[in-house]
Structures are given as C-alpha cells and as structure tokens.
C-alpha cells in the first residue's frame, strides 16, 4: 500500500465485501481520500497513518459511520430460487396431470366440434407449470432467506422478473427446438434447458441487484 489510491482501493474492496452500498462507499472513500491527502501534504503517507491492516481500519470506519450493509449473497439466492422453482414446478406438474386434468375431463365433456388450439392448450399447461415454478422460487427465497436484509424486496422483484424472463426464454427455447427439428438428442435438450436456466439466473441476479439499490427505490407490489 504505497499510495492513497492503493489504500482507497483496499478499503473499497473491504466495504464491497461487507455489502456497503455504492453511494456510502463513495462517500466514505471521498472523505478518507481528502484526509489522507491533507496528511500527505504534511509528509505523512497512508502506510504510516493506516498501518498494515487497512481492511481492519476500513471495517471499523464503516461500523462507526453506521452505513447500511446488505450482503449480496447472489449464490445463496440463486441456489434457493432454483431449488424452489424445481420443487414448485414439479408440484405444479403433478397437480395438473394427476388432479386438475382428470377433474376437468370428468366435469366437462367438450363436443367434438369444439377444436381447442394446440398452442392455447400447451400455453395453459406449461404456463400453469411455470406459474407454480415461479411461486415455488419466490416462496423459497422469502421463507429460507428471510433473515437476510432486503429479501422481501428481492422476492417481490423476482415475482415480476422471472415470468418476464420466462416470456423471453420460452420462445428462444422453442425456436431453437424448431431449428433442430424438435430433436431429442442430449445436447439439444441441454441447450434448451440452459436457455431457461440462464434466463432464471439472470432474473434472480437482477432482482437482487434491484432490491439492493438505495433506500427509497424499494420494489413494492
């Protein structure tokens, strides 16, 4: 740590790891930089002032400044949301195929003259499964990660962004399947799954990032 820039960079990394918001990091860094510059004018360098434990100093400074901390925890949100969506999707699929579909067949007897568009039927079937997956994902995050800051805001944002991501990913996956002649070869199926999972990951990361923005921009539904 030879220069003020080095010291500020080290401190900023520490604050970032602590989950200090960008605005607070910038404010702390600007104040510290001005003070270190004043000391440098008197011939005292940052190494002499701060000593070797700059991260420790940065942590103390953030504590005393009382800045808002919100660890990003992207991986935990991703793991939990994916597990929740798999469980929710599986439960929804089972409910539709084993309960709802037989029930509808028993209750309603459509005349043969009524033709239900295949796209509508597929949309309702898969749409319902996706709705269950989204609900499972959001519920899992809200329940399992409720002890983390801004989880509610993150879950609310997920409830909007995951369906939006699904609306983008589904046509892409279907288009890709069509391009490959609806092949069931492993790499084709894996690619289709990867498209959906990538959209889900993007939505969750964006939701978390959105939720951690400055206070006053909370995502309320």
């Amino acid at each position: 740590m030879d220069t003020i820039d080095d010291a500020i960079a080290t401190a900023d990394r520490t604050w970032r790891a602590q989950g200090v918001s960008g605005a607070d990091r910038a404010s702390l860094a600007a104040d510290l930089r001005a003070d270190l510059a004043a000391a440098a004018e008197d011939g005292i360098g940052p190494a002499e002032l701060l000593g070797p434990d700059v991260p420790g100093f940065a942590r103390r400074l953030a504590d005393e400044a009382g800045v808002r901390r919100a660890p990003r925890e992207y991986l935990r949100f991703l793991r939990t949301s994916i597990a929740g969506s798999l469980l929710g999707g599986a439960a929804g699929f089972a409910l539709i195929t084993m309960v709802v579909h037989p029930l509808l067949v028993a209750l309603f007897d459509l005349p043969r003259s009524v033709k239900v568009p295949i796209l509508l039927a597929a949309g309702v079937f898969y749409g319902a499964a996706v709705a269950f997956a989204v609900a499972g994902s959001v519920a899992a995050v809200r329940i399992r990660l409720r002890h983390l800051p801004y989880t509610r805001n993150t879950a609310n944002a997920m409830a909007v962004l995951i369906p939006a991501a699904a609306l983008v990913a589904a046509p892409l996956a279907v288009g890709f399947a069509r391009l490959t002649g609806y092949s069931t070869s492993p790499w084709v199926v894996l690619t289709e799954c990867a498209l959906v999972v990538a959209a889900h990951i993007g939505a969750v990361l964006l939701a978390r990032r959105w939720a951690l923005r400055e206070p006053g921009t909370s995502f309320a539904i």
Binding site: D31, D35, A37, A38, D53, F57, L61, E64
Partner: protein
C-alpha cells in the same frame, strides 16, 4: 508482563474517554483528521493512532457532534476541517461534568484505601503486649 498489562489497562481506560477528549481538543480549535491525531499525541495519548481517531471522528460526525467544512490549504487542495456543533458543545459539557464526578468518586475510593492501608501498616508496626490465650 507488567508493562503489557499496563498498556491494556491504559487502552481500556482510554476507550471510555477518548471521544470526550477528541471533543475537547476540537473545542479548542477545529482540525482535520490527521491534525487531530497529532494533537492527541501531543496531549500525552501516545498509543492512539489514526486508525482509532478517524473512525471515531466519523461516528461523532454521524451523531451530529462535529461538523466538517472545507478550508483552503496553502499547499494543496482544500482540507476538510472538523469543528464542534452546538450539540457537540452541549454533549462535551455534560460529559465533562460526568467525568469529574466519576474521578471524584474514584479518587475518594482510592484515598480511603490508602488511608486504611496506612493505618493498618501502623497497627502492624505497633507491638502488642496482650499475651495469646
């Protein structure tokens, strides 16, 4: 070993009084962070470094006890100088009264102990004629 214990004890004693001392030093004259560290050292607190003073100064600013303002520097960019606010002045007065009461109590307690020890020592030095039964 004794020196290390003395150092720890000094640190513990200082922990409860450093914020008050910083306010007192800033009440005499506003200062920027590093300047305040030099004044703390000059006052006799040798073990207190920038890593302790600057975060504490930040806390006092958060609590509204000190405020900062930019002052021109003769040899560089303007410096951020910290000074007491009205709330800081009031808090310093209250802390000063509290500290003096505390010191009086501690002094009185130590004096009582010194007195009783001195009388105990005097009693031990005086030979007694009373035979043991």
């Amino acid at each position: 070993m004794v020196v290390a214990e003395d150092g720890d004890r000094q640190t513990q004693l200082l922990r409860g009084a450093l914020d008050m001392c910083l306010l007192a030093l800033l009440a005499k004259e506003p200062a920027h962070g590093y300047d305040l560290v030099r004044r703390v050292e000059a006052a006799g607190f040798e073990a207190v470094g920038y890593g302790t003073v600057y975060p504490l100064l930040t806390r006092m600013r958060r609590l509204g006890l000190v405020a900062d303002e930019l002052q021109p520097s003769p040899s560089g960019p303007p410096r951020k100088v910290y000074a007491l606010t009205d709330a800081g002045t009031a808090r310093l007065d209250a802390w000063r009264r509290q500290w003096r009461r505390f010191v009086e109590i501690v002094d009185a307690t130590l004096t009582d102990q010194d007195t009783s020890r001195a009388s105990g020592d005097a009693g031990a030095d005086t030979p007694t004629d009373t035979p043991r039964s």
